[in-house]
């Protein structure tokens, strides 16, 4: 039997599959349940400094090849999230704290608390509105990204992962700004929207949303490949992983570990064990002994 074990920024994982941020990871019991269903780790919902109710429903729209969402960063505020992390940690597997903010100071405040709660790493959601800019995102401002990550790397012990957005002209520029991060998480959702032609209106209450799922798999593969090739940093691949072939494609593009979000909706919570057994059979039939052999195997 080939081994599915992998390591990312020093964190050992039983298998390469983690739960992505924002899907079933607000309630500690749900995270624990997902870990019991076979995920090697969970990434929490993105948590900020203050409590936020987010947008009014509809916050999701089902489209043929994935999901559109505009949740609006609803979260209870970091001060109220310790209990949930604690419950999730009862499963005995890594819990990664996803955090967001508008300034380096926000990120530091929230990150420190996450660390205190016992999170094994921080994942920085850089796709949130920039406090100063109009409509622009933190993750598209290289200077701010550099400041945030510099600040966290100075003052936080646990690994820091920078989650990058595909909605930029030049992802390498942002990656370079984030070069002090221990790993890149690639990709967040792709800008999108849906209109109901009978209601003559955007479906999401926020009109604009983020596209996830199968529709964006080939987009994610492209950015993982590019960043692996051009930065050599450890990468966590995410975007449209719904079958073991997708997982292997991401690994071969350069990801050392993977996250699944929309796949939990389209395939159910069994997706973690299904994909793991698919990866295992593939490795066996192709004569591959460890995940490491797959990582970056297709990069020219």
């Amino acid at each position: 039997m080939p081994s599915l074990k992998t390591t990312i920024t020093g964190i050992g994982l039983q298998n390469p599959l983690m739960l992505a941020s924002g899907i079933l990871d607000e309630n500690g019991y749900t995270m624990k349940n997902i870990l019991e269903c076979g995920a090697a780790a969970v990434v929490t919902k993105s948590i900020g400094r203050e409590e936020r109710t987010g947008y009014r429903p509809p916050i999701v729209a089902e489209v043929p090849d994935g999901l559109l969402n505009a949740v609006g960063l609803s979260n209870p505020g970091i001060d109220n999230f310790g209990n949930e992390v604690g419950i999730a940690l009862q499963a005995g597997k890594p819990v990664i704290g996803s955090i967001f903010g508008g300034t380096a100071d926000d990120f530091l405040y929230v990150g420190k608390k996450m660390e205190e709660y016992g999170a094994n790493a921080l994942e920085l959601n850089l796709s949130c509105p920039h406090v100063l800019g109009v409509g622009s995102e933190v993750g598209s401002d290289p200077e701010l990204v550099e400041e945030i990550i510099g600040e966290l790397k100075n003052k936080i012990e646990i690994p820091v992962w920078a989650k990058l957005s595909p909605n930029v002209t030049n992802i390498l520029e942002i990656a370079n700004a984030a070069s002090k991060a221990d790993a890149f998480v690639v990709i967040n959702t792709v800008r999108g929207m849906a209109i109901d032609i009978y209601a003559r209106r955007p479906v999401l209450s926020n009109a604009y949303g983020g596209l996830s799922g199968r529709a964006i798999k080939n987009v994610g593969i492209r950015y993982v490949y590019q960043l692996y090739k051009e930065t050599g940093k450890p990468i966590i691949g995410v975007g449209g992983i719904e079958a073991y072939e997708d997982a292997i494609e991401y690994l071969m593009a350069g990801a050392s570990a993977l996250e699944i979000g929309t796949g939990v909706y389209s395939k159910g919570k069994g997706i973690f064990s299904e994909i793991n057994s698919g990866i295992s059979s593939f490795m066996e039939s192709e004569g591959i002994a460890s995940i490491k052999e797959l990582v970056g195997a297709a990069v020219q």
């Binding site: 607000e26 349940n33 609803s74």
Partner: protein, 247 residues
């Protein structure tokens, strides 16, 4: 989104209407749809009619449910679904217990043989009580304007549950909890249809979860034995922001 043109709107109580519309889809009792009022909001509503013509029975609370109750025949209704699981089939004698708008989702289970316990704030709000033969019906009202005064569980206490082997229960979670507590030691089995905040309806947002399970995909119907082991049922839930609050 799916849409249909409303065939008929019936007023059931001063605050509650039934909306009937054609929808060629097989649905099972207990399932729900997410009803969208463009520009207002989207909320989960059980299917109260599950035949060729589908129906929902909605009580006016906040903006979205109120807007639904104002829809008229000939207008379009927008929704997605059906979502969720269904009630277990049962051959023995069953009691249907509904509180407030909770009766809506139980309606498809009612047959001429059914026994019911219907509770509401006041007499005029007793929903679908007329669907039971009077001799098989117990009513309970908060204000005592019909039947027993008090909460639903007072009604149960007045009855001999020994003749029933199954209960189907839907209503506010605290009502369900009191029913569960009351029958926890009994031989009677029960299916509880729960209501919690639902933002997505498809198992991604985690707003409806209870003990790691999602009401929208793994519920809304849970068995008595599942709930007996629950840590969150009747005690805690997440608010619309994700804040853990007492029920």
């Amino acid at each position: 989104m799916i849409h249909s043109v409303i065939e008929r709107v019936d007023r059931e109580t001063p605050t509650t209407v039934t909306i009937l519309f054609p929808w060629e889809k097989e649905v099972r009792p207990g399932q729900f749809i997410m009803v969208w009022i463009p520009g207002v909001g989207e909320i989960p509503i059980s299917l109260s009619f599950t035949g060729h013509t589908k129906g929902i029975t909605v009580k006016s609370y906040g903006p979205t449910s109120t807007a639904i109750t104002k829809l008229r025949a000939g207008e379009k209704i927008f929704f997605r679904g059906p979502y969720g699981n269904t009630f277990r089939k049962h051959d023995g004698k069953a009691l249907i217990v509904g509180g407030g708008s909770g009766m809506a989702g139980l309606l498809p289970l009612i047959t001429p043989e059914s026994h019911g316990l219907v509770s509401a704030r006041t007499k005029a709000e007793l929903l679908f009580a007329d669907r039971f033969s009077p001799e098989k019906l117990t009513t309970v009202t908060d204000d005592g304007s019909s039947g027993i005064k008090g909460f639903a569980v007072e009604g149960l206490k007045s009855m001999d549950l020994g003749e029933f082997s199954m209960m189907y229960v839907c209503g506010p979670e605290l009502m369900l909890k009191s029913v569960l507590d009351y029958i926890s030691g009994d031989g009677i089995d029960a299916d509880f249809s729960l209501e919690r905040h639902m933002k997505c309806g498809i198992g991604v947002c985690d707003s409806c979860s209870i003990d790691g399970l999602q009401l929208c995909t793994q519920g809304p119907v849970f068995t008595k034995s599942a709930l007996l082991n629950s840590r969150e049922f009747g005690r805690e839930r997440l608010s619309v922001s994700g804040l853990r609050v007492k029920l």
